[in-house]
Amino acid sequence: MSALLSVSDAHVSYGKVEAVRSVSLDVRDNEIVTIIGANGAGKTTLLNAIMGVLPLKGTTSFAGTDMALLDIEDRVAAGLSLVPEHRELFATMNVEDNLQLGAFRIPKATAAKSFERVYTLFPRLKERRKQLAGTLSGGEQQMLAMGRALMGAPRLLMLDEPSLGLAPIIVADIFRTIGELRAAGVSVLLVEQNAQAALQIADRAYVMELGEFILSGSAKDIAGNQRVAASYLGFQHEGTSGI
């Protein structure tokens, strides 16, 4: 099976500082792939560059098309969607309007179905549909950001730190929903600092450090890796040096 998203030899720079160096990854259909790594490893930068928010050197292709010449809006239309770290909601508009705008690029009839799907995934959003997005709690805002992205019926959803700053019970909720997305035919590329939770639901994982991938493999293997366990999962083994 060919990859849905394939990135090879990607470099992303801020001026002279190279934040991502020679990174290659792919995500196949119906797969949950996670990139874990410490703060400042370049995970967010990589996601933003794949979305087209930042310029990327290297080749990226999505569903078989080269994305070099596509801008953000074209990539959205092609079925790629990003839920950014800061969520970027329309704070002064209500939940329903935020969701409706998520379906900006798809036909009206499909949008009605999307509404149903999102409200089933996140019943809380339906209760709050007339509330302004800026007045929602952190967890609800994350749900709204994911819901808005799903409204456009994407083939691949990229999530940037969905658990950031949320209570553990809500994090569990969000991760359960990510698991449900696969059943709905959406692939997920998940960037997380909460490596434990991410490795539990992912099929495959990449470990990023200082702008490079240092490890990749099935989520199970990565979770079992001693070095990963020590630095990201919080298990200190005797004799292992922290990285």
Binding site: M51, I72, E73, M151
Partner: protein
């Protein structure tokens, strides 16, 4: 002062205030969506008014050629932008939008212009011409620098104002023009006489405010425009093109400007540079509204109109001074009341 004079002044103030309200709303709209402080708004007023006045005398205004030239330049810009990925569909769309459309307006104007052309047709033609100029102005002057700071956009905006004003002198000459009234009907209530023209001003202002409210509150495109204003990155991430939002904002602004011009040109003689002052008064209203609030802007515009009417009665030499002095206490209060905001970076 007796009640009659006061009523006259209030009436005058409201009529002018309604125009300033329209212009102020357009300024708030454009700033919210594109972060451009639209100084050339006044030129849209002049272009609309004087194109209409010239069409009324049977002449073809030079603005229609300007629209054509700007359209061709915009097509050139599009071609240059798309040079790395020449896609036929995109180029054809740009050709239709930037070259065929103004050419059609040009042909239509030459075909229809004449001393006997009905007023409605002249109005429609003037609106078409100015709307096209507004659209291409965004494409040429602001779209390429859309990501820069508010200050850079403001400087570009001042440049556009100067260029358009100079061209206005070329097209319309140094003499003032007046246009025919929309209607000669009049209505007398007590001591007050309402001309059809002033009723049209009130009616159209209210209609426009309601239409804008409906557009922004209930249509997907209107919501997309608001979304662009609230969060540009968020808007791009759901696939809303910020360039499209910018074009729509400029289209609306130029239409509003032209309509305002057509509404006032039968009441006062307009010169090629009159629009600037009128636009500035709308700007004061917009500033009082903090460049964000539509209702506050509309109310402030009525205040500006009334202050202008009263000061022209009491101290007509200082009329403009008094009106523009209004902005000082407002700016002081606002800067004291509002917390410092860092400019959005994107």
């Amino acid at each position: 002062m007796n009640t009659t004079i006061m009523l006259f002044l209030v009436q005058d103030g409201i009529t002018n205030g309604a125009i300033y309200a329209l212009l102020g709303l357009a300024l708030v709209l454009v700033f919210a969506v594109t972060r451009v402080i639209l100084i050339p708004q006044g030129e849209f007023v002049t272009y609309g008014a004087l194109s209409y006045a010239m069409l009324a005398t049977g002449q073809v205004p030079g603005t229609v050629w300007l629209a054509m030239a700007m359209g061709i330049a915009a097509f050139g810009f599009d071609l240059f932008d798309a040079r790395r990925s020449l896609r036929l569909k995109r180029i054809l769309r740009s050709l239709v939008f930037n070259v065929v459309m103004p050419a059609a307006i040009l042909a239509l104007t030459y075909r229809l212009a004449g001393p006997k052309t009905p007023i409605a047709v002249n109005i429609a033609l003037s609106l078409l011409i100015v709307a096209a100029i507004g659209l291409y102005l965004y494409r040429l002057a602001f779209q390429p620098i859309a990501h820069t700071s508010v200050l850079v956009l403001l400087i570009a905006s001042v440049g556009c104002h100067l260029a358009l004003q100079g061209l206005g002198l070329v097209f319309f000459g140094a003499e003032g023009l007046r246009g025919p009234a929309l209607s000669n009907a009049a209505l007398t209530i007590g001591p007050l006489r309402f001309t059809g023209q002033s009723l049209a001003v009130y009616g159209l202002t209210v209609a426009f405010i309601i239409a804008l409210w409906l557009f922004f509150g209930f249509t997907l495109m209107g919501k997309a425009l608001r979304a662009t204003a609230v969060n540009r990155l968020g808007a791009r991430l759901v696939g809303i093109r910020t360039t499209l939002s910018g074009q729509i904002a400029f289209l609306l602004a130029s239409l509003i400007g032209a309509i305002s011009g057509i509404l006032i040109v039968p009441i006062t003689t307009l010169y090629y540079d009159t629009g600037f002052l009128i636009g500035l008064k709308g700007f004061i209203a917009a500033i009082i509204g903090g460049l964000v609030s539509y209702p506050l802007t509309a109310v402030a515009a009525l205040l500006v109109g009334s202050v202008e009417a009263f000061s022209s009665f009491y101290a007509s030499n200082f009329k403009e001074v008094i009106v523009f002095t209004l902005i000082l206490p407002v700016l002081m209060l606002r800067s004291l009341a509002a917390p410092e905001v860092e400019e959005e970076k994107d």
